[in-house]
Amino acid sequence: MEEIEKAVEEILATVKADKEKVMEDLKKFVDYGVPLEQAKEAVMSKYGEVVKEKKLKDIEAGERNICTIGKIIAIDEREVEVRGERRKIYRGLLGDDTAILPFTAWKDFGLNKGDVIRIENASSSEWEGQPRLSLSEWSGVEKVDYDIELVKRAPQRYNLMDLKPGLSNVEVRGKILSIDEREVNIGGEIRKVFSGTMADETAKIRFTAWKDFGLQKDDVIKIKNAYVRKWRGAPQLIFDENSTVEKIDEKIVMEERVTPLYKIVEAGGGIDVLMEGVILDVRDDSGIIFRCPECNRKLRDGICEEHGEVEGKADLRIRALLDDGTGAVEVIFNREISEKLLGKGMEDYMEVAEEAMDYSIVHEDIIDKIVTKPVRVKGDSLSSDFIVTIFARDAQIIKIDKEKEMEELMMQLEGLQ
């Protein structure tokens, strides 16, 4: 008897049917002497391949044919290149009363924030240690006309440095460094949004508030139930009418600290970050380049893709690979910083290159001067597709105080248990 009940549960886990009926049908088969396993299959096929909706918390990575109902908490579109073709994909967060999961939609289902949808035939993969739903060409998505409750779990507290896109229900504290108000048109409705930057002791981050919380510069606040998405190659904190914001009487003292590169790679970028690493490679397009005087784009063989053949403006820039042993990022140095790192001006390089009638001589000198050199860089990330790209605001070659460093290492060694 127990076995039959177990079988009924298993059937109900995969098909949608009435429990009493399933039990009745199953018993009938068993009474005729049909082995339980076969009876189970027979009953399942009777109720068809109707897949039962799953709660989000029960979804594991690597599942197929998932059916579920959830509410879109956040969504944004981005362009990616798939087999040489640009296409739009949609990323966001889907929630129900048990969990919140990140999702990716590989086609436009016309989804908006706040929609409650029923999904059929989705799949899941692992992403950052948690399942991520994937809605493909073959998935069915329909809006339903009722609202659902969202999970109420204790928000998790984070340092700003540990925030990465896809996290939701986070609690953070920080100081508002800047804030601006603007109006946006969302589906015909004009809404006020507030964006700016905030900081705690570990990092700075851009934020957007979809509601007027009366925030001002220098306020120190605690935010509960915010979420994180990626914007312009860096994580961005979002809070809205579902979030609570409270001003707190705390001091936040920001100090310069070096962020290990794996942290930046994990977060998918960051703003105003200080890092240290060794330059392990200089990309081929580093050195003297020519830009369009109209739009500043880099010319290819004297031609701007927008303005055609133009008289190029010379510029010096370096695109380098920075690696600290824990992670690697790409850093772009503009003319001013490049000149500082190289100890030589662009005009001098122009002269040398024109004399040699070869601009690659500049590239060689850059490799010679900075590859394998330790460098301290401060900057903001611009993008983070295959690799996080940082635009440097300042940089210098690190000079080490050997005695001090060695003393510190010795102390660490002595301090081992």
Binding site: D323, I387, L413, L416
Partner: protein
């Protein structure tokens, strides 16, 4: 994600005898060291002590790079002719920097030799080398700490180590290393770091020589003492010190000869010429 370039001392890297094959599309392979470094790419700065031509194409090179703890073996393959020619043109001895991929040679089950396949090679200088030693000490100390933390746990997992603040690669590597390496001798590695630190702080050694003369001298001693079953290691060292070589130099030269394949160990503690 681009694999980071591990800073790792030769003594630790060469003692690795486990490989992690990962899943996923590109299936990167990692050399797992006794202290839990999970190395797919590495960065070395040291003294180039030897470059030899290998293979028949005249392109491939094998180089030896000495750091304060031992010797990194680096290959430049025919499909990286630029790197190979940089190695071929470099003076011996001189400071060199190499970025390479972990190279794994497993002639038979249970026998594993690791080295590096160079992606980049460049002349370097003393200051950069010192910075490298410092970074490598730091990274090694972090892993020693992680190993000790993990050893104090009942069943350490990567997740627990992450919660203590270790980078993901270190947390994963250390928890794996504890499973596959038995009785890792932590004191041995602490000593290794200590030696590396004192290499920089106490009386700067000049660029170390390739010990060409000493190699010949030692080979001669071994030839005289080896007989049928090989010369006894300790006796060779004794004889060489008697002839005026420093003990540390003898040991280093022995390693050079072993790695060059000029001598081998027919059984533990004995050496014989090839």
């Amino acid at each position: 994600m681009r694999e980071p370039a591990w800073r790792i001392f030769a003594a630790e890297y060469n003692e690795a005898n486990h490989v992690i094959e990962s899943k996923g599309e590109k299936k990167p392979r990692y050399v797992l060291t006794p202290l839990g470094a999970k190395v797919n790419r590495l960065f070395i700065i040291g003294v180039l002590t030897d470059v030899e031509e290998i293979g028949a194409e005249g392109i491939r090179r094998r180089a030896r790079i000495s750091d304060p703890t031992g010797i990194h073996v680096v290959y430049a393959e025919a499909f990286e002719p630029e790197v190979a020619s940089i190695l071929a043109d470099m003076e011996v001895p001189s400071f060199i920097a190499v970025v390479g991929k972990a190279r794994i040679y497993e002639p038979e089950e249970g026998m594993l030799y690791v080295s590096a396949r160079a992606e980049m090679a460049k002349r370097s200088d003393e200051e950069s080398r010192d910075y490298w030693i410092m970074e490598t000490c730091r990274s090694t100390l972090m892993r020693i700490n992680a190993m000790k933390d993990a050893m104090s746990m009942n069943s350490p997992t990567a997740k627990q180590l992450r919660e203590l603040g270790y980078p993901p690669m270190v947390a994963e590597g250390v928890s794996e290393a504890l499973k596959v390496y038995e009785d890792v001798d932590m004191e041995h590695y602490e000593m290794m770091v200590r030696e590396a630190i004192s290499f920089i702080t106490t009386g700067k050694k000049e660029v170390r020589k390739g010990y060409e003369e000493e190699q010949e001298k030692l080979l001669k001693i071994i030839a005289e003492m080896q007989g049928e079953d090989g010369a006894i290691w300790d006796e060779v060292i004794e004889e060489a010190t008697k002839q005026g070589m420093e003990r540390s130099v003898v040991e280093e030269v022995m390693v050079i000869l072993l790695e060059k394949g000029r001598i081998y160990e027919p059984q533990l503690g004995k050496i014989k010429m090839v």
